[in-house]
Symmetry: C2
Subunit: 251 residues, 2 copies
DNA sequence: CGCAGTTTGTGCGATTATCGCGCATAACGT
DNA sequence: ACGTTATGCGCGATAATCGCACAAACTGCG
């Protein structure tokens, strides 16, 4: 573990500025950023001007927004891990086979972080999640599949620490019953939600096997009404096939 | 424009370290990074340890690799610009309509940077491009569509500055003929390549109209043999429809 | 297995890059 | 028009960062 003297606080602050921009905070002023990142406003100003200078943000009046250039950073990850060759084709193939969208997520800072997707249905816009979107763990199938993949005490800790938010009337708000859902997902090898995160939407997810590194899970979502017993079995089989293929092909 | 005193050189160096990782440089040592980023190796070491501390890279023996956490930065851009709601559904719909993959790119630092994609064909893996991938301007349809979207003198400058690389035997290596292709793309409102970047692969791309901000283009690729006159007309119509829908819906 | 070359760990003194403050100005919203 | 908020910017202080040097560890090869 790095000693304090080996950590560049200026760089860390700068990265926190990049993190300030998200779905809720699309355009931010110097003052906004200083407040969100808990920085002195002169420091925030210099860091934002550095991002502007390098092309990662652009100014619109008194506010700033991220530019597409930040996608290059994601490209560094996706290309260096060969997602375009090893992951995306597997997702695309399975997605085409079962005619449903797929999302691959990793557990990251107590959330499910989407790193790849396939075959978004043109007719139905979910919440508009993209690669880089972060979903809560507790009310989502993919979150529970990630939790199911962890040792029990570790997932219990994450369940205890994660915020309880009522997304729909079906969202469970007691950690005991969520823990029971996670335990059930661990036993069954998959997680299913029904309207707990998005009204009328079912989620199905499986953990991706793998010994080292970050825990991954693979999931899909579809209209609850479309989830028949047969459909569920088909999707589960396909997700498990896909997860196995990903585990084998992606280092 | 920011004065030099308003630029944080440490933060800028740190971001350059993040940029060192790509398809060719998946795993890098301190020395590699110092060399690639032209930094003193102690400085490189501190910056890498900062990234490790924050979770953006992880160590594997003596080398480091990016972690999925960098996807959060891309998510900031995609979510704050509502790509999941405004861009992705349009791409998915058109992609489904013409049964071909689509990629949306922006001109970024003399290259075409993919920012969104739809419906990758499961049966054909191109070069494995993903969001965040950067493609050269000169031999690709999408690059030429981006160039066609710029004022003539600006695109002439970019053509003059861009490297000439023989990707296939069909790649043109004289800037005059490339400029002529760009001029033709400007006249026709679209660009078509045939095997100039990927052997046996045709590319078709159109610029995305829009007055402000970064220039965007939309393109697809398919087997050259599959590109009949009828197919070309269908695809072009769909790309133009899509580009227009994107221009209208994406701020 | 030994060796040469390369890489890394780390302490340290120097310095300059960054810090935060304060005052003046600009912009915004009512 | 005015009050409030945000911003520009100069400046002195300082601590964060710098780069060097030496020792240790690692790697690849014969």
């Amino acid at each position: 573990m790095a000693a304090a003297r080996d950590i560049s606080t200026t760089f860390a602050k700068g990265l926190s500025v990049l993190r300030a921009f998200d779905a809720e905070n699309a355009r931010l002023s110097f003052s906004d950023i200083a407040r969100i990142c808990d920085l002195d406003r002169a420091a925030a100003r210099r860091l934002v001007l550095t991002l502007e200078h390098l092309g990662y943000v652009r100014r619109q009046g008194r506010v700033f927004a991220l530019t597409p250039k930040v996608m290059v950073l994601a490209g560094g990850f996706l290309q260096s891990h060969q997602y375009g060759k090893r992951v995306q084709p597997v997702l695309d193939a399975i997605s085409a086979r079962i005619d449903t969208p797929l999302s691959l997520a990793v557990l990251e800072e107590g959330e499910a972080l989407y790193v790849a997707q396939a075959r978004m249905e043109p007719s139905r816009v979910s919440f508009g999640f993209t690669v880089g979107s972060r979903l809560p763990l507790l009310p989502t199938a993919i979150g529970r599949a990630l939790l199911a993949r962890l040792p029990e005490e570790k997932s219990a800790l994450l369940v205890a620490e994660s915020p309880l938010v009522m997304h729909t009337p079906q969202t469970p708000l007691d950690r005991e019953s969520i823990l029971e859902c996670v335990a059930e997902a661990r036993r069954a090898g998959h997680a299913i939600t029904r309207g707990e995160f998005e009204a009328g939407v079912a989620g199905i997810a499986v953990p991706v096997p793998g010994a080292t590194g970050h825990p991954f899970a693979l999931g899909t979502s579809l209209a609850q009404a479309a989830l028949t017993v047969e459909r569920e079995a088909t999707i589960l089989q396909a997700l498990q096939d896909c997860a196995r293929a990903l585990a084998e092909g992606a280092g």
